[in-house]
Amino acid sequence: MSDVADRVKKIVVEHLGVEEDKVTESASFIDDLGADSLDTVELVMAFEEEFGIEIPDDAAEGIQTFGDAVKFISDAA
């Protein structure tokens, strides 16, 4: 697993309090990991901070799964 994926996974596990093995490529933050809409906003804020990037609101809305987040951040970094 890439470095980006590891760091994203760490944030997700810490923020949502879920088991690491639940955080799979296709795991949806809301449907599978129990996030509410405010959690998703906070996750994006945490990603921005961890990776020193800006995630615009329209892009943030497209980040639904763990895989989406890793792909967006890998492309942006």
Partner: protein
């Protein structure tokens, strides 16, 4: 009674009577205070009076870009933004049938839209801190209506609905959002009224007098305090009993 030591507070409309009193109250409780307003001179005068822990942050609330930037500027100056008090407001009174689009829009822009922008810009930091206080200064006329003030009343009622919605969304993050709704308060604006006009107003107030800016500031101080952490989505009416809501 309420200790805001270590907290940072931004007050808009701090050049006015009520805003100045709010800034003094928060500062008196130990907060670092950012004074915002359009007129720089009264802000500087107030800052000089308060001494340390004060930042003057002028902003024209009809300029959307300046409004969006204000929370960042304030947080950078004060080292954070824990308490936001949206007090600034304007009136453009007119009989409703003659109210122009501009009368309507300018009041909505400054009173409601700038409040929305400042709330939006402040919440990110509050979410991270897991602590925040938003206090929006509404008005009795937002609840009761007032002839000649359809625009002002709409902006102040809109503020209440918006504040409640924000309160819902961020309550789980330790952030509260409330309104204070002043009735008739003695300020430079009401000083212009003659005695006859004042008597007529006072006759409608069970307390038989106008309120003071300090009485509004005390309500704001309470809602900004640690102790008011379980109060959210509320509107605290401070009106001498003029409307018991």
């Amino acid at each position: 009674m309420f200790d805001l030591t270590g907290k940072t507070a931004l007050v808009t409309g701090a050049s006015g009577g009520i805003g100045g009193a709010i800034a003094r109250a928060l500062h008196g409780a130990g907060a670092v205070v950012g004074l915002s307003g359009t007129r720089v001179e009264p802000l500087n005068a107030l800052a000089a009076e308060l001494g340390d822990r004060v930042h003057v942050l002028p902003c024209n609330l009809s300029d959307p870009e300046a409004v969006d930037a204000l929370p960042k500027v304030a947080a950078a100056a004060m080292g954070g933004l824990d308490i936001l008090v949206n007090n600034a407001g304007i009136t453009r009174d007119q009989v409703f049938m003659r109210m122009s689009d501009d009368d309507w829009q300018s009041v909505l822009d400054v009173n409601l839209t700038s409040t929305m922008r400042l709330c939006r810009g402040s919440i990110r930091g509050m979410m991270k801190a897991r602590w925040g206080r938003i206090v929006n200064i509404s008005s009795i006329v937002g609840a009761t209506g007032n002839p000649g003030q359809a625009n002002y009343a709409a902006s102040k009622a809109g503020m209440v609905g918006m504040t409640k919605s924000i309160a819902y969304e961020v309550a789980s993050r330790g952030i509260t959002a409330n309104c204070v709704a002043p009735g008739f308060i003695a300020t430079a604006m009401t000083d212009k009224l003659n005695d006859d006009q004042k008597d007529k107003i006072n006759a409608q107030i069970p307390a038989a007098r106008m309120g003071t800016p300090e009485e509004i500031a005390a309500a704001v101080l309470y809602l900004a305090s640690e102790e008011a952490g379980y109060v959210t989505g509320a509107t605290l009416h401070v009106n001498g009993g003029m409307a018991m809501l």
